[in-house]
Subunit: 358 residues, 4 copies
Amino acid sequence: MKRKVPVAVLGATGTVGQKFVRLLADHPWFEVVAVGASTTSVGRTYGEVVRWRESAPVPREIAAMPIRECVPPLPGTIVFSALDAEVAGPIEQALARSGAVVITNARTHRLDPDVPLLIPEVNADHLELIDCQAESRGWPGAILANPNCSTAALALALAPLHHAYGIERLFVSTMQAVSGAGYPGVPSLDIVGNVIPFIGGEEEKIDRESRKILGTLTNGAVEAAHFTVSAHTNRVAVVDGHLAAVSVGLSKRVDPEEAADLLRDFVGSPLVSGLPSSPHPPIEVEGRVDRPQPRLDVNRGGGMAVTVGRLRSCPVLDLRLVVLGHNTVRGAAGQGIQIAELLVAQGRVGQSSPERIS
Amino acid sequence: MKRKVPVAVLGATGTVGQKFVRLLADHPWFEVVAVGASTTSVGRTYGEVVRWRESAPVPREIAAMPIRECVPPLPGTIVFSALDAEVAGPIEQALARSGAVVITNARTHRLDPDVPLLIPEVNADHLELIDCQAESRGWPGAILANPNCSTAALALALAPLHHAYGIERLFVSTMQAVSGAGYPGVPSLDIVGNVIPFIGGEEEKIDRESRKILGTLTNGAVEAAHFTVSAHTNRVAVVDGHLAAVSVGLSKRVDPEEAADLLRDFVGSPLVSGLPSSPHPPIEVEGRVDRPQPRLDVNRGGGMAVTVGRLRSCPVLDLRLVVLGHNTVRGAAGQGIQIAELLVAQGRVGQSSPERIS
Amino acid sequence: MKRKVPVAVLGATGTVGQKFVRLLADHPWFEVVAVGASTTSVGRTYGEVVRWRESAPVPREIAAMPIRECVPPLPGTIVFSALDAEVAGPIEQALARSGAVVITNARTHRLDPDVPLLIPEVNADHLELIDCQAESRGWPGAILANPNCSTAALALALAPLHHAYGIERLFVSTMQAVSGAGYPGVPSLDIVGNVIPFIGGEEEKIDRESRKILGTLTNGAVEAAHFTVSAHTNRVAVVDGHLAAVSVGLSKRVDPEEAADLLRDFVGSPLVSGLPSSPHPPIEVEGRVDRPQPRLDVNRGGGMAVTVGRLRSCPVLDLRLVVLGHNTVRGAAGQGIQIAELLVAQGRVGQSSPERIS
Amino acid sequence: MKRKVPVAVLGATGTVGQKFVRLLADHPWFEVVAVGASTTSVGRTYGEVVRWRESAPVPREIAAMPIRECVPPLPGTIVFSALDAEVAGPIEQALARSGAVVITNARTHRLDPDVPLLIPEVNADHLELIDCQAESRGWPGAILANPNCSTAALALALAPLHHAYGIERLFVSTMQAVSGAGYPGVPSLDIVGNVIPFIGGEEEKIDRESRKILGTLTNGAVEAAHFTVSAHTNRVAVVDGHLAAVSVGLSKRVDPEEAADLLRDFVGSPLVSGLPSSPHPPIEVEGRVDRPQPRLDVNRGGGMAVTVGRLRSCPVLDLRLVVLGHNTVRGAAGQGIQIAELLVAQGRVGQSSPERIS
């Protein structure tokens, strides 16, 4: 690839938007050419407006960019949307209509039948949905979605088990980091020395999104996986990293050692594992009894690897395990970028046009 | 009761021992007459030795008491043991042999067939086991146990459901406070901004102890409840209060509203609910969607009440709920004292003798 | 006092407002008859609107009260204002003009020459300023202020030293709790595992307010104390309790032991020490080398006592010490209520009228 | 340099020892050839024994090394000692006697008149003290020390001010991370939601060590700087990074802007700034009003840069500022390695011998 693909980031001043900006700063394939945020910020530069929470400094070129309004036309073949779900829908649709390939972190379109909800290692084949989308919507551009932050890690860790043994029932209790709620997000008075046993809408997302991701594409439609999910979602005083305690029931009995080998050996397709953001391996299996831990393990694989630990048998279902993933990398910005890389690698998006998008 | 029953506290300088001392300081029925700790402390006063972690000051009379060795004879009709499990067994046996009624917080004897494992509101009838114990061991005293800190709250919250509908399967994922690990306990480097998804031996305890507590006493033996348990135990950066996300499968379908009413209306026997340490009600049902929270709700009922929230249906089993209990009050010292109160109320222990213990 | 004095609380749904509501719930002299909050809440009940953060439940009677708009006329002889400084000024003035005695926690009027800034144990004599205020403003009511949360504890702890030895220079570096920033206040992403070395406007407040409080009333005006202040204010991951590391230079040399005795023996006037909210003693001196600590010591004297520890000599100035106070009790609501008690005890305010206010 | 200099790490399993191991893993000049720890670990491999707390994995080669006893002879021209002060003295002396160049993180020898206490950017000239040491002790090896973790950052930040304007008085109040206390170190029960206003011996270290470091070498002896220090040291719930609020009195008045320029422009000698571990610049000056913050800024310059913020005038002395440094990198292991690099760069230590050490 000689020239980089121009991309825009919307909602660029938020927690996930900042992560997009940082991860794209030195990206080998992409170049940020526009940043969008709320209208009150328009006209000022990104550096002036952003309350930067990353420890690396704001990339110099992006700091100098003027904030743009989130309306088409925007420069950029690909638009990464970190917009709030409250406003994302109409903006993203307008952009797709104007020809942009929108990769969104908002929940709005995730469950639309013609929007692929992607974890490249798991369901790259679901990309075909954008052909249906082109047909049904008639847009020159497209909308693709990455899953919510807790589902991203969970569905990746469960994919090899589901494909090999068929998940039937799932119990999951999460302990989620405060960065998952954005900024300002969770008030410190609520979380210092405390746990909040509720995250609005999150349990439903885990249920529906994980079943769509692990579902089967047939005749241009995804049939969701059939397992049932008992989800509990909790907020804890951790900065980055969503941890999930998981019990899983499979269609046949499996030994924990065998399951560990399966996860350890998991690689996506060669096309996916060759993407710049793909970690090697995508799933790291931990043998130490008290791991994974968010503070020590969240950045494995640059935040794109998921760590699985405590694989052991389950007296009620078949297996128990613990899953950790970085909620703003694998669970948001990193995942979105990896999806964009997949589009480029498949030749669906080039430097100047998404015309081959479908 | 004219005169107070003399009691001793062993392991009195630890986290649970301190809680015993504080709760017993103004107890209407009991009076601390001896405090025991490790031999290195013997001879110095409690006030000199203890690294006091309660916010109320050390009770003046107890601060002045000399630390005693943990060997019989000890003054005190009842001995509360907060000894480490590593050393508790032989000491507690020697004390029972010498005539003391030992109420222990150590795990050592909890699963012994002739040792009652008690939550008075739930299984006061299991007290009869000490008759068998007297027979089998031939001790003039006795050993009674309270459950481990996470089981205490869980089994109390589940008891009404089990008795009404029969628990068949149980998922539980805990988020446990650092005070549950004693002092010095969890190193701060391990828990600040972190979660540890492992607590040694805790998952097995939840399984075995909850089934013994909810089991049935028949012919002088407890038949454990038959449900299976899928447990995950986690340590979080909370000072006091163990929270558990629970999914439960019952022998018949039950509506969440009906279950809430059942829990809300639960009272133990009149004898138990009249004890000084018994909270009213023992189970508080929370309707606010983001409760219970450890920091806000842990001290309900003086730390003896358990709070249940988020009662809702479960796509995999029957009900989902969240349970919170104070791990060093309901889960340790408060529970131990309530057991002692039950012995007194039943006339099994008087001021000067445990001879009617069985 | 036969009947209780009717009082209103403005800004009643915020952190400090909630503390007022809780502390007033069973107050022997006062009875809450009205609660005010932002106009968007008007018409709904307090229980519906408030996001209650206290561990004790919302007082039943107050939960049922309708939220009122913060404009006169309001029932209540005394109005406690926990309004944001952004809106407090005009509202409080209108109330005083309408005849109410306003005790405000907002910074707006604290430095007005005719507004008493009060810590009853320290400068009850400054109350006379309301006579000047009555004259200058012509209001039938009045405005009185309590100091900001970090100054309240600091100035109380320093008062005996200043009166005995004359403070000339002061270094203070605070470590302040998140509850001091209200709700939602500090985002958890900013403070979990972190310190923020800046609190807007706080260093100036410590300087000016402590010198006014420790100043001298002469001819109807307070001449501020003359010492200079080098202040550093920091936010830490603590829920309640502002801690300050202090070095103080005095007009004469003093031995730390002597200073400790002075602080320990400090009592306010008999009138003040007899008030319901006055702690005994107001200053607790700690000998343990690692105390005071916010989590263990913040609630001494019901949150109204200040704890001083680590009194030792200073190589640069004269003394070093550590001061801890409860920022929403002594530093806000408790202090405001104690000021109101002082007005009642002096006969300046009765059940039905503030006409003797000046 | 063709071959790497062989080095050993003592106390290699502790917090600072682990940091040495990680920083040395890919060092361009040094190669770890031995790791020492307590005798109970001897014989097992480093990987088996260490409770690894770094997020990067244990370096493979070092994981396989057998733990050695901490006695001479040890392979390695340079020995980095992260031993506890309780045992460090005799071991380090025996090693120096056996010919090793010992760079110690222990406090034991820091104030010995013939032991250089080094921050290379600040006082590389103090290295000459080892000539005196060679003479006075007659050892073929030598002992050099790095300062304690809070002094390291503080003295580096103050050095340009002292050299330009002469520090006369210093007020410092620290907020120190838990990693500064090692592992297990601070019990979580003491620090979750809390501050401990005391760290044993730390205030004295700041006083004496900063004055030695900023002192003047004359005739083979360091004359300590003459300023007085009022220090307060506090422990906070931060993982890495010691923050200090500082007020400083100088021999002449200086404008904050001028001081900022001075700090910003500070570079050590060319020899020092060319060392592999030297950050560029050594002091980063922050203009954002709420920075530096430990979580966001601690890793600047790979943990070797110190960040200074909030430079402003002081009503009592001359300047106020906030200083942040990484306590186990600049404050311990990184600083020790940089000292070793200086020895190599000066030709005092080569691959196989320290004979030119003095």
